[in-house]
Amino acid sequence: MTQMHTHHPKKAAAFVSDQARTTWHNKALWFVRQKRDKAAASLPEWEQLRDTAAQIKAHSLSNLDEYLEEFERNAQAKGITIHWAATGDEHNQIVYDILKTHQVREVVKSKSMLTEECHLNPFLEKRGITVIDTDLGERIVQLRNEPPSHIVLPAIHVKKEEIGELFHEHMGTKKGASDPKYLTESARLDLRKKFLDAEAGITGVNFAVAETGSVVVCTNEGNADLGTVLPPIHIACMGLEKIIPKQENLGVFLRLLARSATGQPITTYSSHFNGPQKGSEMHVVIVDNGRSELLSRKKFWRSLSCIRCGACMNTCPIYRRSGGHSYGYVIPGPIGSVLAPNKDLAAHKSLPFASTLCGSCTDVCPVKIDLHHQLLAWREEVVKAGKLNPGKRLAMKLTSWVLQSPQRYKLAGKCARLAMKLPRVFLYNPLNIWGRQRDLPPAPPESFQEWYTKNRDKNS
């Protein structure tokens, strides 16, 4: 597993150094974004849906303690055991204790960003429990021994030829085979055995309904269902922000989730887990891990509304060209860049700058999180905390000094136009970070002000 902090520009530079791959990655994600647009446009009420979803989330979060207790009460009444974890480690320990009590050696897991956030897999593996990720994309990255690079499309950065190699090594598929159908079929056969042998199943939670105590899990592959129906233990792990008040609210969220994520009108399976099967156990672990404190941060608490659809990454020009791993946080893209600094500002200080602030993320967010405003607000926090890197700090100071005086501004403009006539080496040298991948436009012969002084009387 990679370390959980990074300097985004450095890792992004490594990714973009392979131009063909960057283009391929960019196109793959833009394709998903276009499918999302088509799905959104198919509903005249799309914007009303987004407004309603945002309000439901704001309501739930502003009354979260009551809904958590209501959920607990109703879930317990259905025979579900509820656990509370203040930290990722406590979450891992709870899951481990349940598994240990039942002497579980092998557990199947469906997609859960929370368990990634808590680093559950290495925790369990260190204690002798084998974890098998069963979402195909997650299985691919697990076998590659790397974290997912996208929250909905975990292996979006991997080419089919590489998957072919990987499956040849781990599942004995034909050498050199890269047909997606063949590779998917091979994984199906391999994982079907593992589902049948599993002693416990772990899932994430898309929505937890307070009024019924049910948890809803959405998948296309059916892995969450097979992973919970076959073994006698189901452990569902959720961040405490997953609570919604009523079942009818699911109508709003399920209409938005898949359309925003992949452009599908709904996922294949929308499973409502209402309690344990006969003779089985069902556990729900409710995890805080910094979330409750985030509720008090005026500029940032709405980031807890996120339903993890991934639309903001699919549309982000930076994400598409730098890849999920360049963010160095469990959740990449715009939403990851506003969540990560809550955990550790110093470690993730480069992430709020991994954005053009174009606002596309905010436009596609199904729960209307003001992502680009939050990214800008985090930049202010980085500056306030004195964590801006020295080069950027100096440049900002200099710009501010120049812009504060009309004389200095005019002089600076003149110097710049002159400097641009110098040979390239003077402008495009290692000191000019901006100019590494970009060329300046040709300099105009005069400034607008000079032109205006000369021409203002002509047409009057």
Binding site: A28, A58, S62, T134, P154, L226, V229, Y269
Partner: protein
Amino acid sequence: MSRESILASVRAHKPASIDLPSAPTFGIRYEDISTQFKQAVESVGGICTEINAVEEIKPLIDQHYADAKTIFHTIGDELPIPSLSAREFSTPHDGDKLDLLITRGTLGVAENGAIWVEEKQLPQRSLFFLTQHLVLVVKASTLLHNLHEAYASLGLDHTAQPWAGFIAGPSKTADVEQCLVIGAHGSRSLLVLLET
């Protein structure tokens, strides 16, 4: 146990209460709900065929699933296809031998092709996911326009069972280079028979 400290922290940090919006009344409605439903089922990878009577099911099964050897169905004696006995499925794992499951859906949703099914209609709910192929029979009279209507119609009774849910199309994945492959872990195909 961190329960108390987490709840205390939520209480201390939560923002001022914001109202819960009323239930949406803006859900899309379609002029021809059956045609929309059929298109939606096909858009999620399924096949949808209209039938006028249960007698029409057998020929369709023969046509689509000629190779199916182990079949379980809940349609009853009206359907002259031999079904395995429910007693053969005493554990969830027993569903792994199943080639074809034919059962009914409670209701269908026109906007997305989703069909509501419940644990109690099968000897094991695992059959929904372990079967190689799935056929769902849906009455046209149960079709609803959108998910808001669907949840309003379902109510909360289903929560007395361990599981219930929507199934929309066969299982699928696009995790290998965004290439859509039908037949991931669950059923490899879904045939929806819309009973008019």
